[in-house]
């Protein structure tokens, strides 16, 4: 168990150590594109910074956090040490090397292509290589999660896999499906071109492959938060999980519906027909379903807790909840942001309606609300829940943790809501500088300034997070507090095989993927759409980079 704990702790520390500088970059980016004076106001620095911010937040923080969380959940929910610890450490080192490579390439100015890559813009092969090591390396973790679950099932025949373990394995499987797109793009298109092995890039194909990743990756980020909702929150609130079965079903639905829907990120792209776009828009509606189910299940679980704590009447259970618990507070704040972000998502996926907001600040606002808000705030809560368990040192302190969560919530709301509005007004995203003397842009000025204030609050909150974690880490070891998961109202004694494993769901997803992506990817073998690449760091030698 010691080794499993150390494994989790190292992953968490990498995640949060990357998190803080990435928040600093984010706050500065908001400043440079505002009407306010900004230090180092150089557009090149902005684009490099956006690349670094996105790479850090989307790939590094999330992957390391999910991996650490996975090891912790495996050890605690199965009640035995993680199997394959050596492989886990190798995975850790590979991912760390990949991170350093990618970060170095961006800092050197050779990779300002943003974390979504945007071929035919071409970055240095160090950047793609780093991304490949990080994402590809995390596949070792995927295998380890599946291995730990199946070996436990073998040792405990007929027993239901604990919901937490079932869910983290679902996360791993989802990540494997999600990462397949970007890994194929990296290995098949970007790395060969950046190494000079090929001369051209199929931008349409590359975008299509990336879209396989682009939506599902958000659910990969989201899953630890949902696992906390289902397995940690009811316990922290002092209640019971309303339905174990619904929890399993929710995670299964996430696997099935979060991958074959990525084309809603390509609604505005010219390389796909409207019919294929509608298919995936249709499927995207169903990815809202598990979240809508979760909202009810979580409310019901909280109601049980609130009523047990003396809450009376229709809504009296809400004030009766232990809001002083970071996990409970974070969930409340998270659900508010999830509601707003989910609302934005329902707009984005609405087929033609996507045209209203595509690539405007609305989109930035949407995924900051979902990921930067609803998900990350649960990462904080998980960290606060886990740190005392892993280190045996008490949290320093709970009051500070509450401040930190509230500040993060306030900062994200103040930053994101004005973005939604400027997006509707037509503000393009990822722009280094706006000309506020233009009347069209000037109207957005006050809103942009408000969101800068939100960014500053987020920065304060991120610093506070690190302060809390460091102080807790430096405290004295005096706790023996094993992690306990929430008990369902009716703890499962047996569950059908379909809800105790993933074979059926993987088969279904494969069919759906062929249906949704078979033609869109296959068409590029017929279309003549290869184009030259454009190296962002300039020609590697003379004559146009050749």
């Amino acid at each position: 168990m010691q080794n499993s704990s150390r494994l989790a702790l190292y992953h968490y520390w990498v995640a949060f150590a990357v998190f803080l500088p990435a928040v600093v970059l984010g706050a500065w980016q908001m400043l440079i594109r505002s009407p306010l004076p900004a230090p180092l106001d150089d557009p090149d620095a902005y684009y490099a910074s956006v690349t670094l911010h996105g790479t850090a937040m989307a790939y590094v923080v999330t992957t390391f956090f999910a991996m650490g969380f996975g090891y912790a959940v495996t050890a605690t929910s199965l009640g035995r040490p993680v199997r394959g610890v050596a492989a886990a450490w190798i995975c850790f080192v590979i991912c760390l090397i990949g991170t350093l490579m990618a970060v170095a390439a961006v800092l050197a100015g050779h990779a300002s292509v943003l974390y979504t890559f945007y071929p035919p813009l071409l970055a240095s092969s160090w950047y793609y290589g780093g991304a490949f090591l990080l994402i590809g390396g995390s596949m070792i973790w995927v295998v380890l999660m599946i291995y730990n679950m199946t070996s436990w099932k073998r040792d405990n025949p007929g027993q239901p896999v604990p919901l937490a373990m079932f869910a983290i394995t679902a996360t791993a499987i989802l990540w494997a499906w999600a990462a397949s797109g970007v890994l194929v793009e990296l290995v098949g298109i970007l790395l060969p071109r950046s190494l000079g092995l090929t001369t051209e890039i199929d931008a349409g194909l590359a975008r299509t492959l990336f879209s396989v990743t682009l939506h599902a990756i958000v659910y990969f980020w989201l899953m630890p938060a949902y696992i906390a909702f289902y397995t940690l929150l009811p316990q922290a609130a002092g209640g019971r999980l309303y339905s174990d079965t619904m929890g399993r079903l929710t995670f299964i639905m996430f696997i099935i519906f979060s991958v074959p829907v990525g084309m809603h990120h390509l609604f505005a792209d010219p390389e796909h027909g409207a019919g294929m776009k509608f298919l995936q828009s249709f499927l995207t509606f169903f990815v809202a379903l598990p979240t809508l189910l979760t909202v009810f299940s979580i409310c019901a679980s909280l109601e049980i807790a609130g009523r047990a704590r003396g809450g009376r009447g229709l809504l009296g259970w809400i004030p009766a909840l232990p809001w002083g618990e970071p996990m409970v507070l974070a969930t409340g704040l998270s659900l508010v942001m999830l509601g707003l972000g989910g609302f934005g998502g329902l707009i984005n996926m609405g087929y033609a309606m996507n045209s209203m907001i595509h690539n405007t600040s609305w989109v930035t606002a949407h995924f900051h609300m979902i990921f930067g808000g609803a998900v990350v705030i649960m990462y904080f809560a998980i960290a606060y829940e886990m740190w005392p368990r892993i280190t045996g040192k008490p949290l320093q302190s709970k009051a500070l943790a509450r401040w930190q969560l509230w500040l993060w919530f306030a900062g994200m709301m103040i930053a994101s809501i004005p973005w939604h509005i400027t997006g509707l007004m037509g503000q393009p995203r990822r722009v280094a500088a706006f000309d506020y003397s233009d009347p069209f842009v000037a109207r957005m000025g006050p809103l942009v300034i408000i969101s800068v204030i939100g960014g500053a609050i987020l920065l304060v909150s991120a610093i506070l997070l690190i302060v809390i974690l460091v102080r807790s880490q430096l405290g004295e070891r005096r706790l023996e507090a094993p992690l306990r998961y929430a008990l369902a109202v009716n703890p499962p004694k047996t569950v059908p095989a379909a809800l105790n494993g993933f074979a059926l769901w993987n088969a279904i997803l494969l069919v759906l993927m062929v249906f949704a992506y078979g033609y869109p990817i296959g068409q590029f073998f017929i279309l003549k759409s290869k184009v030259p690449a454009y190296e962002v760091s300039g020609p590697t030698n003379s004559a146009g980079g050749r």
Binding site: F296, I304, A305, M327, G339, L346, R389
Partner: protein, 67 residues
């Protein structure tokens, strides 16, 4: 799977820990079904739904037809 232990959470002292729920409380809480949860979740979904319709017909459609 046992609950016959004190509940632990991110707290330093036992008095900061939420009390665990017992069988009787759970039964009592669920006697009428999770009505409060249904109300809260329904209001949230209704707002989402009405907001979506408002955006569709008051913002998106007036901005003109494209295809």
């Amino acid at each position: 799977m046992a609950t016959d232990e004190f509940h632990h959470s991110a707290a330093a002292r036992p008095e900061h820990v939420a009390a665990p729920i017992g069988s009787e409380e759970a039964v009592a809480a669920l006697r009428n079904g999770p009505v409060g949860a249904l109300v809260v979740a329904s209001i949230a979904v209704a707002l989402l739904f009405l907001g979506w319709l408002a955006f569709y017909f008051l913002l998106f459609i007036p901005r003109g037809s494209v295809g």
